[in-house]
């Protein structure tokens, strides 16, 4: 007897009020939540879309974060007595951005973006991704600012003394070194972001939670879908942490090169 037949037999038995063991109940619940009607495909789609959302939000977050961090550091590192008015304006914008984003809950940002700013849009997942990216950018900016400040000032001086301008010095000398210093913190940000993707479900984004909810409303049993996605999140986070550890060890080795 294969699993499908076993499941059919057990459900038939339960419908008729027959006695089943608790182990058999668990089997039925899990089969119903993950296998029956090819439901595992929903979860798989959910995982893929969660990873996609995370990746896109992370890229947006890093781009925004680096720009904000460079603007703020550039503003703070101006030669005394020289104030670039453009930089002053940009710096003010960046400051407002980090303050607002870091000072309001992620959930509220999603609600505002989903139901106020883009209330006409049907691209829920995309709006969610955008919001996550903007949110992440504010945190990445702070991580990166710390990274930029951790690079020996002598590196900047060496670049400038060769006649490189500020942006080239940043681009070729300071930022690559800062990037290496902030990788552990960026890894943590990635994991946070990965878990936060669950929130975009509130504005109708399609990802792993969406899959679990869809299954739950079909089977009138949310326990197994929710426990199931918790395990999926956990396993993936553990996988990321392991990869992150490996990457860091590799980078440390190159330091001793």
């Amino acid at each position: 007897m294969n699993l499908a037949e076993y499941y059919a037999a057990l459900t038939e038995l339960m419908k008729n009020g027959g006695e089943v063991s608790s182990l058999q109940k668990v089997f039925v619940g899990m089969y119903k939540a993950f296998v029956e009607g090819g439901r595992w495909k929903l979860y798989l789609d959910g995982v893929v879309s969660t990873v996609e959302v995370t990746a896109m939000a992370l890229i947006l977050g890093i781009v925004l974060g680096v720009v904000v961090a460079v603007v703020r550091t550039a503003h703070d590192q101006q030669r005394p007595g020289r104030h670039n008015p453009v930089l002053t304006v940009l710096n003010a914008i960046c400051k407002v951005y980090t303050t607002v984003i870091r000072g309001t809950p992620m959930m509220v940002q999603l609600l505002i973006m989903g139901f106020v700013v883009f209330s006409k849009s049907r691209e829920f997942t995309l709006v969610g991704t955008l919001t996550l990216g903007i949110n992440s950018g504010a945190y990445v900016a702070e991580i990166f600012r710390g990274g930029l400040m951790s690079v020996d000032p002598g590196q900047n001086e060496a670049g400038r003394s060769l006649g490189l301008n500020y942006l080239d010095t940043m681009r070729f000398i300071v930022v690559p070194q800062a990037f290496k210093n902030v990788l552990p913190a960026l890894g943590n940000e990635f994991i946070t972001l990965f878990k936060d993707t669950a929130l975009i479900n509130i504005i109708g984004g399609k990802e792993l939670v969406y899959a679990a909810k869809a299954v739950g409303s079909k089977t009138y049993d949310v326990m197994y879908p929710y426990l199931g996605i918790a395990v999926i999140y956990l396993v993936m986070v553990m996988l990321f942490s392991w990869l992150q550890g490996k990457l860091e060890r590799r980078l440390r080795q190159s330091d001793r090169r």
Binding site: G154, A158, S161, G163, N165, I173, R256
Partner: protein, 240 residues
């Protein structure tokens, strides 16, 4: 070549340079010595505006560097600088360290820069290190590379900020040798150092700084055999 007028620099309330005026002529090898905290490094760093002077002016080949409208990057390209802690870029190979600035500033294209790097590396005996990373080199090698990196911009003057102070004693010689070579080729040099032997042998003029002033200056022969100021005498008696 470099004209310093009434240069003052203070960090907060602390006055590091007090109204210094000095002229450096083309081809001169000016050696600046003095006790620590005398302002000699700050003075050197003011020359290419790594430190912004609080007061006074610095003119390089007729251009006033302290004028806020001056393109300081353009001016720095003509002034090489060598640091105490080398400050090589650890994220690039030696070749890239040397060619980055000349290529990015459009002084030459990558092929020309690579050729120049090879030539310069051969001169300091480090040709085979072109593809190594800075962390694989000894201090003396790093400093020779740092000199090469500055020279790749074909500067008109070279500023040395205690180039041998962070080196193991046995590596000092190889770096001084390169600097001596450079001096013989007629490069204008301003050197802050504690190497009295180098000052005596290579310098065309010695400045003694203390407390933010240039207390005394003379030709090396005169300076070392016949110091005039009390402070100079006591300093020399301790270091010689």
């Amino acid at each position: 070549m470099i004209d310093v007028k009434h240069l003052s620099k203070s960090f907060g309330d602390h006055l590091v340079l007090d109204d210094i005026s000095e002229h450096i002529a083309p081809g001169e090898k000016v050696v600046i010595i003095g006790p620590s905290g005398s302002g000699k490094s700050t003075f050197l760093r003011c020359l290419n505006l790594l430190e912004t002077p609080t007061k006074g002016s610095i003119t390089f080949q007729g251009t006033e560097l302290t004028d806020p409208k001056v393109d300081i990057d353009q001016m720095r390209r003509q002034m090489g600088m060598v640091f105490q802690h080398f400050n090589l870029f650890p994220n690039m190979t030696i070749r890239k360290n040397i060619t980055l600035a000349p290529v990015r500033t459009k002084l030459m294209d990558q092929t020309q820069a690579d050729d120049l790097a090879t030539t310069l590396l051969r001169r300091v005996g480090l040709e085979e290190k072109a593809d190594a990373y800075p962390n694989q080199l000894s201090g003396g090698q790093k400093q020779r590379i740092a000199i090469v990196r500055a020279l790749a911009m074909q500067p008109k003057v070279m500023l040395f900020d205690e180039p041998t102070s962070a080196l193991d004693p046995e590596m000092v010689g190889e770096v001084l040798e390169v600097m001596k070579q450079l001096a013989e080729e007629g490069m204008t040099m301003v050197v802050v150092t504690h190497e009295m032997g180098f000052a005596r042998e290579v310098g065309s003029r010695v400045l003694f700084m203390d407390g933010g002033h240039i207390l005394e200056q003379n030709t090396p022969a005169e300076f070392f055999s016949n110091p005039k100021e009390e402070r100079t005498k006591s300093f020399l008696s301790k270091v010689l």
